[in-house]
Structure formats: C-alpha cells, structure tokens
Symmetry: C2
Subunit: 143 residues, 2 copies
Amino acid sequence: MRLTTFTDFGLRAMIRLAQDPQTPLSSAEIAEEFAISRHHLAKAMATLARAGLIVTRRGGGGGAILARPPAEISLGEVFRALNAEEPLVECFQSDGGHCVATNRCRLRARLVIAQEAFMASLDQSTLADVALEPQAFALEAAP
Amino acid sequence: MRLTTFTDFGLRAMIRLAQDPQTPLSSAEIAEEFAISRHHLAKAMATLARAGLIVTRRGGGGGAILARPPAEISLGEVFRALNAEEPLVECFQSDGGHCVATNRCRLRARLVIAQEAFMASLDQSTLADVALEPQAFALEAAP
C-alpha cells in the first residue's frame, strides 16, 4: 500500500498552506519549496479546489489559500478528496482492471471497509495538528 | 492510496491457494490463471514464504500451499507480511525520499496510525472468508 504521488503532493500543499493560512501561495511556489514537480502538484491542487478545500486567485499576488481555517479541515476530508478518483486496487477501476475473478471477489468489500477505517482514523486530526512550523523551511535551509 | 502490484499479486495468490488448500500450485499456474506476470507473482510468493504464510515444495507436483488452514490466516496478517518492506509514503523510506520537511513532519505519525487502523480492519477477516469459490474460474471462462 502506498500513497500515490497525487495524494502525497496534495497533502503537502495543504500542510504548507496551513502553515500560514492568510498568505496565498501558487503551485509554483509550493513546488519550489518542496522541490517537487510543479505540473503534478498543480493537478492535485486543482482537485483540492474542485473539492472546495482551497480557493485560488489568479494574477499578481494570486495563489491558493485554504477555504476554511486549518482546525476545521480534517485530514480524512483531504484524503477523501484526493482519493475520490483513485481506486485502491486496479480491480476497482470502472474500466475493469485485469483480475479474472473480479465478479466473484469477496475481498473487495473488505478492502473498502479497511480503507474507510484508514480515513476515519485521519478524521481525528485536522490540518492545524499537522501544519508545518513556520521555521521548518528556514531550518532545513541552514547548513 | 493504492495497493502496490506486489501486495495485489500476493493477495491474489493467497486467495487462490485458499480455494483448494490441499493442492500445491506453482507461481506459473497461478500467474496463468490470473493472467498476471509470473515474475512479479513469484517475488510476492517468496515474501509470503519467508513470512511463514505459505510452504513451497520444489519438483514435479511441487508448488505452494498455505502454511495453515485458511480460517487461521487473517487478511491483516497477509497485508502486514506483504507491506513489511514497503513504505506507505516516500518520506518513510530509510534512504530519505525527497520531502524537505521530513524531519519536522507531523503527518507521519498520523499516517502510521491510520495504516494500522486499515490493517486492524482486515484482521477481522480470514482467507476462509474471501477464498474464491471453486467455480469462479470456470464461470469466468464461460462466454
């Protein structure tokens, strides 16, 4: 089991925005800070915007901010938004995957329940609990 | 969040072996039934053998069987064995990953707890609960 890059990047963006909720940050700025792909990060942030978790403004001084205070956004909510279009296993995909036993699989329902337990656990924490300390990046940059 | 191919294939092998626990099956036979890569399946089955969940015999009539009855092997146990060497997120890797905030990340501990909730949910089911019905493959082969 792994977080996809999509979920990973989306989570990092949310944690970074929670660090300083009043300051808009562009995907380019966040991508540079974390040294990750801007293209992939932008896709994850677009999904977060569609889910109503961030609000984006274009133009100079534009960027994204959290749609609500960090203490009011649970990690489970962020995960669900990022995972909404991602099947946990290939056989969950609407296009079928390639498992010959899909139709008779009794594992699938149990995996769905387990994934829900994963999300429910993350519902216990909010972005305020995991927001990066303001000095995190400064300290990382120090020798 | 996705199951890796490694976990996916290992799970399928266990479910298939639970269908007919007395009959040894080789990785080649299971790979052919599921139409998946024999090479990748063999690696997952080697891990399951090292974890003591299957027993393999070489030579003619050889193959793998479950080390214990299906009702005595929980899905959580299988998942833990297959995930033991796989980090949930890149930043969990011992070689560091590339997250600049790793040392100050407060998300990691929460992800570990959520993953444990996932496994604990799967501990509620055994291979006997999800073993494929004997007719699953015959029915799939029908038009």
